[in-house]
Amino acid sequence: MDKKFISAGEVAEKWGISVRSVQNLCKNGKVAGAVRFGNSWSIPVDAEKPEDGRRKAEVMVQKWHKPLLRKTPFLLMSDLFNRSGSADDAVRAVAGNPEAEALLKAELAYARGDIDTAYGYCRLFLENNSGFYAVISGGMIVALCALWKGDVDLYRRARRHMYEAPCKTDLDRDIVHLSIAVTDLYIRNVRDFPEWFQKGRYDRLPPDAFPAARIQYLKYLMVGTQILAANNMDFAGCKATDVMKTHPFLIESFISNSVGENSVKEQIHLRLLAAICYTHIGERNDACMHLDKAIELCKADGFYGILAEYHRSLGTILDEELDKVAPDIAQTVKKLSKTYNEGWTRVHNLVLERSVYAKLTSREREVARLAAFGLSNKEIAERFFLSEASVKSIIKNAKDKTGAVSRSDLGAYI
C-alpha cells in the first residue's frame, strides 16, 4: 500500500523544524490535508511547508523594496513598531523604500508633535503615490496635521482627497467611508460609520489593520456614548452613563491583545482611552494606572504629540500624572497640548458650524457620498431603487444644505 500520510515527527525532519512547530501549524490549519487522530497528526506526504510568518521583519524589509503596494489604510507604524524605544529602528527597517520611509517618518513626526515635519513628509509621500492605500494613509495624516494647525481648509482638502482614492470595489468605498468617519471622529463629529464597523465587524479589513481598527472602534463607542450621555439620551434602552461603565471590559481585553501582540502604538492609544473611560466613570486609580503606563511608553520614543492629543480629554489628571512620573517632559507635553487644543477648537467650531451631519437625512448623506465617489446618477438610482429624477433632487438638496457648488465638492462637506 502506498504510504500517503506521514507523522508530525517525519514532517519535522523533512522541513527542518521542530515537531511542536509542525503540530502548531497543523492546529492552525496551515498544513493542507492534515488530519488529527487523538493527539497525533497525519500529514499528506506531499504537503508543502507553509511560509514562516514569524520572520516578519525580514519579509517586510524584502517587501519594501517593491513599490508600496496595497496595504492597510491605517498607519504603517502598527506593523513595524513592536518594542518600546524602537520607533527609529522601524524607520531603518524600511530604508531603501523611499515611499514607505516617507510615510513612516510622517507618522513618527506626527506622534512626536513635530507637525511641520509630518506635513512635509506627507506631501512628499502623496506627490509620489496616488494608489488607494497611499491616498487614504497620507490623507488621514494631513487631515490630522490640519487639526494641529487649525487650518480648516487644509482639513477639508485632505478629506476631499481621501474621497478621490481610486476605488475598485464596494469594500474600497467602505474603507474610504470608514477612514473619513475616523478622521471626523477626531473633532467629535460622529458620522455614520459603515454598518459592519458599527457592529465591531472590522474583520472585513485586512488583518494588519486590526490594531488600528480596534482603537477607532473604541473611540467610536466612547465618543458616541459620551454625546448621548451629554444629551441625556438612551442607548438601546439603557442610560448612556450606564453603558459607559461597560466599556472598560472591552478596553481591558483589547489592551491584553495589544500587549500579547507587541503592538506598542496600539497599546499607547488603548491605555489613554482606558484612562479617559475610567475617569468618566469615577475610577481614578485605574485611570492613573493606565495613564502611567502610557506615559512610560510615550516617553521611550518621544511621542509627546500623542499625549498632547489626549490632553484635551484627560485634562488635569494627565497634568498631575506627568508631574508625578515624568516631570522632565511635562512642560513639553503641556506646550504641545496648548497648540493642539487651539487648532482643534478652531477646526471643530468651523466644521461643525457648517457641518451638515445634523441637517442631512441618512439617504441624502448616502446619495451624496456616492456622488462624491463619482458614481453616475443611474448607478446611484440602481443602488437605492430610486428613479434618476429622485437622485438628482436628493443631490440638489444635499448641495443646498452643505453649500457645495458642484457634485465633486460634496466630498468636502459630507
Binding site: V190, D192, F193, Q198, G224, I227, L228, F235, A358, K359, T361, S362, R363, A371, G374, S376, N377, F384, F385, L386, S387, A389, S390, K392, S393, I394, I395, K396, N397, D400, V405, S406, R407, S408
Partner: protein, 109 residues
C-alpha cells in the same frame, strides 16, 4: 448606531416657494415614481419644464436646477460629470432651484 435623523417629511409638504422669470412655483415633497413610496422619505419634486415649457416675459425659457442639459450646454466648471442645467453658464444662479436660461438660442422670440 448613533445616527440621528432629525425630521420626517410627508408627501405634499411644501419645501419652498420659488419665483423666477415672473412666475411662482411651489416645490413640494413627493415621489417621482409610485414604487419609490416603499423606499421611504419623499424628495423635492421639480416641475417638468422640459416637456411643459414656461417662458419669462422676455421670452427666456425657465429651467430647473436638476433639468437635463440641452445641446447648448456650456459648463461652469471643467470636469462637470452628470451635468444638469444649474451647472451651465447660462443658468445665472447655480444655487437657484428654478432660473431663466439666458442662452439666446433657447429664447422664444
Amino acid at each position: 448606531m448613533f445616527g440621528m435623523d432629525i425630521h420626517s417629511i410627508k408627501e405634499g409638504d411644501l419645501y419652498k416657494t420659488v419665483t423666477a422669470g415672473g412666475h411662482t412655483f411651489e416645490l413640494c415633497y413627493g415621489y417621482y415614481e409610485d414604487y419609490e413610496r416603499e423606499r421611504g422619505e419623499p424628495v423635492v419634486i421639480y416641475p417638468d419644464l422640459k416637456n411643459e415649457p414656461v417662458h419669462s416675459g422676455e421670452g427666456y425659457r425657465l429651467v430647473t436646477a436638476v433639468q437635463d442639459i440641452c445641446p447648448m450646454f456650456a459648463p461652469r466648471e471643467a470636469g462637470c460629470e452628470e451635468a444638469v442645467c444649474s451647472d451651465c453658464i447660462y443658468y445665472p444662479d447655480s444655487k437657484a432651484h428654478i432660473d431663466i436660461c439666458t442662452c439666446e438660442q433657447n429664447r422664444k422670440l
